[in-house]
């Protein structure tokens, strides 16, 4: 024992500062909840959250402008590389926008612990309780999202997964209206999420058995040296894949998405639909490209199947939906399928970087449009809250032409009509997939795009070509926050659709060196 000194780990604080800022602010937020008087909480929490996200974004940009690091930070646990920084940037912007939505109005339950319809609840409403824990929960979730795609070993990734997911399970159950639906969504999400986490954990354990390490680089190295343990490897990979595919909502692990999206408060849905998808794709790419990159001949056929199934399930089931949020959930499933075609498009380093850049661009484009679409959903209201049922949207184009026009524009972007961001996202991913020899997959993608177009167009038909119902929903006068979200999302959808080159260049630079190991 003599002479052994414990060396302190080297931590690149500057590089990790975005995460540190977000987590730090989250902890301060918890303290505010504990010590600040109720009437002050919201006016502290909201600026704190926005500032933290903004600060994290600024430090991300600074880190990126200092040149991309070539080795993993924090003793090889966290890989802050080009893709990570790009993903961080997207997540932070999208989270910022979603936070504006959360701020917007009384979407959240007064007191989550009160039983729906009970005296307790009435009392909580009457005394004007407000659930300001939402803000620290959001920050914890965002912190987890930042760590998730950047984790360079499976253990850190699992921690990140949980840090990201647990606050989200809670947030889902906080809707002020239709509380039972919201709580049901929360429980479903929690149970299924716990299952998938267990799969992830088990897969990780098996891979550890195979490679003797949970480090992504070490697993990659083990692929070449360890032999005779293929069962461990393949079962482990499959279980890991289940955990990750669950988070992106790929079929056949998509069942939670519509229920959760529908039940959660719409602002939270906006956050989940955009940022979680981004983070989960980052993690999926890192695991499959870095750790299992040399195994791609083995996992690619499976991924083909998952991608095809996801695209078709998303597109076909969306047709039968009658609730706008469920429809957007299935649309999100279909989009996850389109993104998967890019994950499969591996090959030479050049091919990989072009596929990666395409995925990054797609995630940015899709994230903005999604937040915008859900922001519009929050504004169309009935007596009992948001008017979710599609039939209530009939004739919206006549009652609120501008709002309906913007929503139609978002839908066209989802459908991938040229001159919207969605088109170039799809185009980039499909081009990468063709370059990677996945032409049949692209044909399936195109066919399901055509199917998907049908239900997007159906909503436009409802809004513009049908006469409004006499007792139609009211359009809530949007707060500054909501208007800003819609305007920002619309502007991003236009700019990325007409002049995508700057963001493409950025994505190219981020993807040029691929993931560091």
């Amino acid at each position: 024992m003599n002479g052994t000194t414990i060396t302190a780990p080297t931590i690149e604080y500057a590089l990790l500062s975005p995460m540190l800022i977000v987590f730090g602010a989250a902890i301060i937020g918890v303290l505010v909840e504990a010590f600040a008087p109720r009437y002050l909480r919201k006016s502290i929490q909201m600026p704190l959250t926005l500032l933290a996200l903004l600060g994290a974004f600024v430090t991300t940009v600074l880190a990126a402008s200092n040149g991309l690091p070539t080795t993993a930070a924090a003793m090889g646990a966290v890989a802050v590389d080009g893709p990570s920084l790009f993903i961080w940037g997207i997540i932070l912007i999208l989270a910022f926008i979603s936070a504006l939505l959360i701020n917007d109005d009384e979407q959240f339950v007064a007191q989550a612990a009160a039983v729906p319809g009970s005296v307790d609840e009435e009392e909580a409403v009457r005394s004007g309780f407000a659930q300001t824990e939402v803000y620290p929960l959001l920050l914890f979730a965002v912190g987890g999202m930042l760590l998730f795609p950047a984790s360079n070993d499976l253990l850190v990734m699992f921690v990140a997964l949980e840090v990201m997911s647990l606050p989200l399970y809670l947030l889902c159950g906080l809707a002020r209206r239709r509380r039972l639906l919201s709580q049901e969504a929360s429980v479903k999400y929690f149970l299924l999420g716990a299952f998938s986490s267990a799969f992830f954990l088990y897969g990780m354990a098996l891979l550890y058995g195979y490679a003797g390490s949970v480090d992504l680089k070490a697993i990659s190295a083990a692929l070449g040296s360890v032999s005779g343990q293929d069962t461990l490897l393949f079962v482990g990979v499959a279980m890991l894949a289940v955990g990750l595919l669950f988070k992106i909502g790929a079929a056949p692990f998509q069942a939670w998405k519509p229920d959760v999206y529908q039940g959660a408060p719409t602002a939270v849905t906006a956050l989940m639909a955009s940022t979680v998808l981004v983070a989960a794709f980052g993690a999926l790419l890192r695991v499959f490209w870095v750790a299992l990159g040399n195994l791609d001949w083995d996992w690619r056929p499976l991924m083909w199947g998952v991608a095809i199934l996801t695209m078709i399930v998303g597109a076909v089931l969306a047709i039968t939906q009658t609730d706008i949020k469920r429809m957007l959930a299935y649309s999100s499933i279909a989009h996850a399928g389109f993104l998967l075609t890019g994950v499969i498009a591996t090959g030479t380093a050049e091919q990989n970087s072009s596929a990666l850049s395409a995925i990054l661009f797609y995630l940015a484009a899709y994230g903005f449009t999604t937040v915008g679409a859900f922001a519009v959903v929050t504004m169309v209201r009935d007596a009992g809250g948001e008017a979710g049922h599609l039939s209530r949207w009939a004739g919206l184009g006549k009652r609120a032409p501008v709002l309906a026009g913007i929503f139609a524009f978002f839908l066209l972007a989802f459908a991938g009509i040229p001159l919207t961001s969605g088109f170039f996202g799809k185009y980039a991913v499909f081009t990468a997939a063709v370059g990677g020899g996945a032409l049949p997959l692209v044909v399936v993608g195109v066919v399901s795009s055509a199917i998907a177009a049908f239900f997007y167009v159906r909503v436009i038909v409802l809004m513009f070509f049908n006469e409004p119902a006499a007792d139609g929903p009211t359009i809530a006068a949007p707060s500054v926050g909501t208007s800003a979200v819609v305007a920002l999302a619309a502007a991003a959808t236009v700019v990325l659709g007409v002049f995508p080159q700057p963001v493409l260049t950025l994505a190219d630079q981020a993807a040029s060196a691929l993931f560091i190991r």
């Binding site: 032409p401 066209l412 499909f430 063709v434 370059g435 195109v446 038909v461 513009f464 070509f465 080159q501």
Partner: protein
């Protein structure tokens, strides 16, 4: 001066202006003024166009502008026109002011059928946006830019049909959009594959000619493009959306849909299918010719059976598109030039038919042929111009369509005798459907509901007058148009490596004598 960019920018700026002005009347006037400015600019541009330059590879596309748009994908903002594109742009520029004038009351809720009042400004703004896109799609010399316009132009038309059309409008609009979108997405796969396989890192059309050599690849890519164009044009059996869309669209939108938008399909075949994939085009020629001939005869026979005027005119168009596709794939100069001229002539004659039928429907509130009779007695001018437009549709010598149809048949006969002979029956059937419709609506005893129907007013005369004038002018003196078209078609066919384009050199003289 960047002529083509100006031509696109003016209507876009105009559309913004139209949507901002306060009164509906001002919006209409502004829209008309903007479209007339575009027409004037197009006229000046056409006058400065030099057909002789079309022979050389470097100067093939005139008024060319090329800027990088998305270097990452090799996409350029590349525009330029050869003779084929120029006449189609001219067609669009002439039709739009006429359509605006004809649509004066389409959106404001007047008319016998008492349609609901709708946003007038939006309608005219959409028309102008559509005009910019129509010019863009013909002017694009970058395959990707072409695709962008090809898809994006669906959206304004979709809203024009869906918001301003007849009773079945939303069904028709969705059917139109989904058919076109499906074709377009197949084309997207081919566009992506073209880019990846060509490995030129550019989408500029001139640089992609002759790059794809492998015959199998050519065939697949050809199919991707061709099916999209065949849905658009539409060729049999991809045609079923057209009668619905054209019948439900307001008359003005129907004119632009059938007159210009559908021409993008046949234009695309001539420009992209033939030049980018020459061997595949030759391989598939028999198939396309069979489809075209079926379309010619089928469209004509089904047209005879229609009871709805707009549907009838839509089916005649399916027959005519068969002729155009036949001309494109016959791959002789005569047939190619004839097909191009046909695209223009069909735009005018069918446009006139749709618009005059639209005037009738506005007065009477029904598009059913059975609801009319003896209109000629109460509205002689309306009936007379309808007859002229109809006769042009059935290719009466002296009216414009005759020249082009004759050239197509002649050019096809040089290579494919049997299809040409069968296609000729389309001419006879045309006489049946047009004259029978005329007889049922305009002749005979005046129907009770038709009595007191007013004749064309001043505005409507200004709509019909120019159209009839163009139809007659191009019927007697098509030379200026052919002079512009011929070098461009020659150039196109030379890229397809057709050596004996002039199978029968004497034809040119005979044709001249025939006029």
């Amino acid at each position: 001066m960047p002529w083509l960019s100006t031509l696109m920018a003016v209507p876009v700026v105009g559309a913004v202006g139209v949507s901002l002005v306060k009164s509906d009347k001002l919006a209409k006037q502004l829209a008309l003024a903007v479209s007339l400015v575009v027409l004037a600019l197009t006229g000046v541009m056409a006058a400065r166009f030099d057909p002789a330059l079309g022979a050389s590879k470097e100067t093939r596309f005139q008024f060319a502008e090329v800027y990088d748009w998305i270097p990452r994908f090799g996409v350029h903002y590349g525009v330029g026109v050869d003779g084929i594109a120029l006449v189609l742009i001219a067609l669009s520029a002439i039709l739009v002011p006429i359509v605006i004038l004809a649509s004066w009351h389409d959106a404001d809720g007047t008319g016998a059928a008492a349609p609901p009042k709708r946003s007038v400004k939006t309608y005219f703004a959409l028309l102008l946006v559509l005009e910019a896109m129509m010019i863009g799609v013909f002017a694009a010399t970058d395959v990707f830019l072409f695709y962008v316009f090809f898809e994006a132009m669906l959206i304004p038309m979709y809203f024009m049909i869906g918001s301003y059309g007849g009773a079945q409008r939303s069904y028709a609009a969705v059917k139109f959009l989904l058919y076109s979108l499906f074709g377009g997405l197949l084309m997207l796969v081919a566009v992506i594959a073209l880019y990846v396989i060509a490995e030129k890192n550019t989408f500029m059309f001139p640089e992609l000619i002759g790059v794809i050599q492998d015959p199998t690849t050519q065939k697949w890519l050809f199919l991707g493009f061709f099916i999209a164009f065949a849905v658009k044009a539409p060729l049999w059996p991809f045609h079923t959306w057209l009668p619905d869309a054209a019948a439900q669209a307001p008359a003005g939108a129907a004119v632009l849909l059938v007159g210009v938008l559908d021409k993008v399909g046949t234009y695309g075949m001539l420009r992209f299918c033939l030049e980018l994939f020459p061997d595949a085009a030759k391989f598939f020629t028999p198939l396309v010719i069979v489809l075209s001939v079926i379309g010619i005869v089928y469209g004509a026979i089904v047209a005879i059976g229609q009871t709805d005027m707009k549907r009838l005119i839509a089916y005649t168009s399916i027959s005519h598109f068969g002729f155009i596709a036949l001309g494109v794939f016959a791959m002789t100069t005569d047939a190619g030039a004839g097909a191009t001229l046909y695209m223009v002539n069909h735009g005018f004659s069918t446009g006139a038919l749709f618009l005059i039928a639209g005037f009738l429907i506005y007065r009477r509130g029904s598009s059913q042929i059975a609801d009319y009779g003896g209109v000629q007695k109460v509205a002689p001018l309306l009936a007379g111009t309808f007859l002229i437009a109809g006769l042009s549709g059935l290719s009466l010598p002296g009216l414009s369509t005759f020249v082009s149809e004759f050239m197509v048949l002649l050019g096809t006969y040089e290579r494919y005798v049997v299809p040409a002979v069968i296609a000729t029956t389309g001419v006879i059937l045309a006489a049946v459907y047009i004259l029978w419709m005329y007889q049922r609506t305009m002749n005979g005893p005046t129907a009770e509901a038709v009595k007191g129907l007013p004749d064309l007013n001043i505005r409507e005369r200004w709509v019909v007058g120019p159209l009839i004038a163009v139809i007659i002018a191009l019927g007697f003196f098509p030379k200026p148009a052919l002079d512009i078209i011929n070098p461009a078609v020659d150039h196109t066919l030379s890229n397809v490596h057709i050596d004996n384009v002039h199978v029968n050199p004497a034809v040119a003289e005979k044709k001249g004598a025939g006029q």
